[in-house]
Every structure is written in structure tokens, then in C-alpha cells.
Symmetry: C2
Subunit: 368 residues, 2 copies
């Protein structure tokens, strides 16, 4: 088991990475000081792993209750957060309770947000069960839900007390979910870690084949990158943390336009990253060869790289305008100065952005 | 104009108390650094004061939008918070916007909670328009909404950037609302300020007659008490801040049982405070004469002091069990060691509490 630390003063917490952590009491007990524990999971994950977590906690004489939600991004809304509150109140959970998120990014984001708001704040522990959640969403305290008019528009910064990354649970992940996680792994290479990017290019086939050793390495390096960024800019007060959103403004527009849950978040981010690379090329930052490297790696990871043809450039722009990075009415995007160096910019002609939005199958393909 | 300060390090903020503050730009401008301002109000207050605030802000070239809710505690729920988010998104409000709460406690609590959660946090300014909100709920950062199973169960700690207590707006307050505010004023005397309690007993008739000089004094002393407590225990991490909840556990049960909005919060708290005094007497802390003083002052302030006969002791206990002060399954109540000295206790026989809950019209009346 490896242990990384997210350094946030009194809100610091460990990330444990290893096999079969769900039954290791020392990953839970020091961090769950409450008596009442509510495990929040979904209908896909609960049959697979709920019992394991439940037994570990029951053996420590916690009072353990569960709340199982339907599986999917389309349920990441305020109504389903209210459902968590109802269960907590029906079970008479007090302010000294804790929530345990057992699931992917949706379960983690919702459980964290519920923990932030229940009785004005109770603690929570993350057990991410998808690759995407393990390398990204479970670390850093961004929690929340979608609004019909925009993704992740409602939420809170709420740090977990610990994150348990159990690599054994990835065996049950389907191919699309697994590839979606690789998108966020690749992101760290693109925004701030060129050696990692090169390592990924070398090992992408092994990663796609779910080689356990490579996977542990990829997860640890991703989490370390995430932890470093979060420690330096917890509340996204400057642009540092915003760099983690490479491809996300494009991606969120795809997710919102297609209906939440149709494209997986990681799939939309993958295509969004290629769009960001395409725009970075049009603006003179990247070479054609750079864009091609990005595309090749994403394709090798079995990720989509062509935005849906049903989304017009106008719709894209409309949906991108509600992005959280918009400042003083001006759209700001994460772009690539070079591979491994991202930056936030509002300084681009809308006409150039429109070219990227209209590129369709030419996006990346033109560079072959 | 008087200025008090809530001392919370980088979250410190001023409380301005005076007449006709709504048109004083210096109360707004230094605290609203955003360009986009959303004024949240209700259908009772908006026709009276919205235009005044709007003009003050428009003259400073802010972009000003409004969101008007129905008036009443029964609308303080998650659905109506979602309504605020919808307006914010429809108007394309970004993360650098600010919300202005113009209304009573319900508007303030909801606007603050919306500000805490919109895009994971934007700033907000409080303009309380009821006496209760001016002396209590607008100061201290407790925000949130009710759940059908419990009052204020969902929320966040979110400090405003400034609080504008305009005493001129109290002229339009109806008698019940005004008396409800006096309940919270009296609370400060009971929990921590005996000289203020004596002052209130002397001046209660003048206060009921809305004497402007007495009122300004009562508000300032209440806000100072609130600011002192909040500065010492912002997140209710120890029992100090909990003392502000004298009468509230009983009161919340009344509000929940009767249906939100039937009893005003201050009315329920008034009756709840007499119940707390009654229990404190049964436990040997207060004398009969003390309880009588409490009752006389509440009655002089035109406040109800008899709990609804429709709420059985069992229902009371049931509803009190979901209180946020419950710790490790044990009900904790704010009691009075003496007049002017409150404390939190879990150390009382349930049978004695049951006597208080069953006392009905004998509550306080027995001591006449």
C-alpha cells in the first residue's frame, strides 16, 4: 500500500493506494471518529462491494446504514441529494455522523456535497470505484451536482477525511468507464508533467490491458499531481487549480448538450482536450505534431476524439458561456503553451475558437 | 449610523445600524466587488424596498438582476433554492457575482445558502428587513433550508461581506413579526447579559411601541452579543455558540409539528424559552420567581408562552430528537443556570423533561 498526503493544514488527509483496501480497518478507523456511518453507493456498485465495506465497519461497532442511488450522471441532481438527506433524517443521523462515498465520480461528488450541507457539515470518506474517480474527482474536495442549465454549477469545497483507492475494484469496470478514467490520467501529462506524458505514450497499451503494476504507477503519479495542485490552490483562488480543467469547458458543453450520462465525463474531456489542443495549435502555441501526439494517445486509450456533429458551434458557445471560469463576462479556456504546460487564457479571437468548434471530424484528423 | 464588527479574521465584516441605509452607497460599494448583483427578496418586501436598493446599485453601474420568492417559512426549502440557481444561470451569472438578501430570516438564510453553493461559493450581503433577522439570523453565517423532517437541517456556514440594519424598514413590520423579533432580543438578556435583561424589563413597553431610540439601542446590544459569540465560536465547535439556541429545540419542534409558517420562528422560540426556563426550574436551577420574570417579559412583548395543545409530549420528544445539538444519540438542551447564564446539558431525567412537555397552560401560569 502506498500513502500520499494532500497537504491542507488542518484539512490534510491521506490517499491510500493498494489492493484489497476495503477490508483493511486501519484505512477507516482512525478517520471515522463518528459513531453513525452512512454508506452512499449506487445500484451498480453496491451489489459488488457494499457488503465488504459494511462488514469492515460493523466489526468496529459503528452504526452502519446505507443509501443506494440509481447509477448515472443523469441522477446527479438536487432531487437525489435531497434523497440522501431524507435517509439521514429518517435514520436519525446527528451532526456527529460521517458519510462514506462508495462509487464513481457521481457518488463521490454527491456524497461530498451532502456531507457539506447536512446539518451544515459532517465528515466524509471517499472510496472511489472507477479509475476516473480514483485519479481525479475523489481528491481535492470539489463536490456538487448538475443543474439542467449547467454541469457542476451547484456545490461546495469539502475535503474528505481520507481517500481509499482500492485497485482491485477496477477489475469490474467496463471498457468505456475504464477508458474515461485514462482521459484524466493523460490530462496530468498534458498540463504539467511531460515525463509522465512520455511514460504514458510508452505504456498505454499495457494500461489499456489493465496491467496491475502499470496501473498502480499511473494512479499514484496522477494522484500526486492532483494533490500538489490542490495543496497549492485549494479553492481555485488563482488559475493554478483551473489548469486541471483542460478540455473540461468543451467537455461540459458536450455532456450538457447530449444529456447528462450519454457521454461519460472522461469521454467528453478526452474530446475536449483534443479541441483545446486544436485551438492551441490554431493560436500558434502547439505544432501539428504536438496535436497529433495528443490525438494518438487518446485514440490508443480507446477514447473518442470527435465532438458530436449534432452540436452546432452556436450551441457550443452558448453552453461554454456558463462555465465557472468565465470572469467578468469573458470566456476563459485552459490552453496548452506546449505539451506539459497549460495556461488559462481569455486572449483568443472568437473566430479562431469558432474554427475549432466547427472542425468536427477534421479535428485532429487533418493532422494525420 | 453605528458600526459593529464581527471579528473572524479574513472573514470579518461590519454590521451597519442606522436609518435609511438602503440608499447609502458607502454601505454597499466597498463590499460588493463583483459586477453582477442578484437581489433576492420576497413578494412582501420587494414592493416596499426593492426599488430603493436597485437604484443605489444601478447608479454604481452594477449589472443588477432580481429573484423574488413567495413570502413564508413554508417556502424555505430545497426546491426554492433551486429556483434561485435557475435565475442565476438564466441570467448568466458567473462565479464573480454577488447576491444581496433583502428580506427577513427566510430570505437571508436561503440567499446565504444559495451563495454558499452557487458555483461552489460566491459572496453575499445581508439587508435584514425584520427585527428578528436584524438582531439574529443575518449575523453569524448560519444559512440553510428546512427539510420536511426537520428545521434548518440542510445548510452551510457562510459569512456575509456586510450586514445593513436599516431601522427605518421596521415601520412596515406587522405586530406578530415585530414581537417575534423581540423574542430573540430577550434571548440575549437571558443567556448572557443580565444588565440588558434588566434594561429590557424597564423598557419593554417603549420597545413594543417601537420607540426609535430604544429600538436602536436594543438592536445594537443584541448584535454586539451575537457578534461576540460568533467571533468566539464561528462553527459551533464548542457549546458557546449553541447557547444562542435557548428555546430553539422546543421551538423547532413546535414549528415542525404545526407546519412551517404557522407559528413564526420568534413566537416558537418565545414559548420554547419559557419551556427551557420551566425545565431549569424543575431541575433546581431557577426559582419560581425567575421563571415568572421570564414569562412576564415575554407576555409584555406580546409573545405566546403556551405550546399548542395539539402537540403531545411524544411528538415533542420525537421532533426534538432530530435536533442538531444531539450528540451520540443523546438529546442536549440549552438550560438556564440562572437568569443571564445559559449552559448546554444532556444531564436531566427524561421524566422531568416530560413534565415540562406535558405542562401545557400550566407552563409558567402555575407561577402567577
Amino acid at each position: 500500500m502506498q500513502t500520499l498526503q494532500v497537504a491542507l493544514n488542518e484539512r490534510s488527509y491521506p490517499i491510500f493506494i493498494g489492493e484489497n483496501l476495503l477490508t483493511q480497518v486501519n484505512c477507516f478507523k482512525p478517520y471515522l471518529t463518528a459513531k453513525q456511518i452512512m454508506i452512499v453507493s449506487n445500484s451498480t456498485i453496491a451489489p459488488l462491494y457494499l457488503e465488504r465495506v459494511q462488514s469492515t465497519l460493523l466489526a468496529q461497532s459503528y452504526v452502519v446504514e446505507t443509501h443506494i442511488m440509481p447509477d448515472g450522471e443523469q441522477y446527479k441532481d438536487i432531487a437525489h441529494i435531497e434523497g440522501i438527506f431524507t435517509t439521514l433524517l429518517e435514520k436519525r443521523f446527528n451532526r456527529d455522523c460521517a458519510l462514506v462515498a462508495l462509487g464513481g465520480g457521481v457518488v463521490g461528488d454527491m456524497t461530498g456535497f451532502a456531507a457539506a450541507c447536512y446539518q451544515r457539515g459532517v465528515s466524509f470518506l471517499q472510496i472511489p470505484t472507477t479509475l476516473l474517480a480514483q485519479v481525479d474527482s475523489s481528491v481535492g474536495g470539489k463536490t456538487g451536482v448538475n443543474h439542467p442549465l449547467g454541469k457542476n454549477m451547484i456545490g461546495a469545497f469539502k475535503q474528505p477525511v481520507a481517500v481509499l483507492v482500492d485497485t482491485s475494484v477496477l477489475d469490474t469496470l467496463n471498457e468505456r468507464e475504464y477508458a474515461a478514467g485514462l482521459a484524466e490520467v493523460i490530462k496530468y501529462g498534458l498540463i504539467r508533467d511531460v515525463p509522465f506524458l512520455a511514460w504514458l505514450e510508452e505504456n498505454i497499451d499495457g494500461l489499456v490491458a489493465r496491467d496491475k503494476v502499470l496501473l498502480a504507477e499511473a494512479i499514484a503519479r496522477s494522484c500526486q499531481n492532483k494533490a500538489d495542485v490542490v495543496a497549492a490552490d485549494e479553492l481555485e483562488a488563482n488559475d493554478l487549480r483551473a489548469l486541471l480543467n483542460l478540455g473540461h469547458t468543451f467537455g461540459h458543453a458536450i455532456e450538457t448538450a447530449m444529456g447528462y450520462g450519454v457521454w461519460l465525463h472522461g469521454e467528453a474531456v478526452a474530446t475536449g482536450m483534443l479541441m483545446a489542443a486544436d485551438l492551441s495549435w490554431r493560436l500558434g502555441y502547439l505544432s501539428i505534431a504536438d496535436v497529433d501526439r495528443v490525438k494518438k494517445l487518446l485514440v490508443a486509450a480507446k477514447l473518442p476524439v470527435i465532438p458530436p456533429s449534432t452540436i452546432s458551434p452556436t450551441t457550443f458557445l452558448d453552453l461554454m458561456a456558463v462555465d465557472k471560469k468565465v470572469l467578468a463576462g469573458k470566456l476563459r479556456l485552459v490552453l496548452l503553451k506546449s505539451l506539459g504546460e497549460a495556461f488559462v487564457s481569455a486572449d483568443f479571437p472568437l473566430a479562431t475558437l469558432a474554427q475549432t468548434l466547427a472542425a468536427g471530424t477534421q479535428l485532429g484528423q487533418a493532422y494525420d
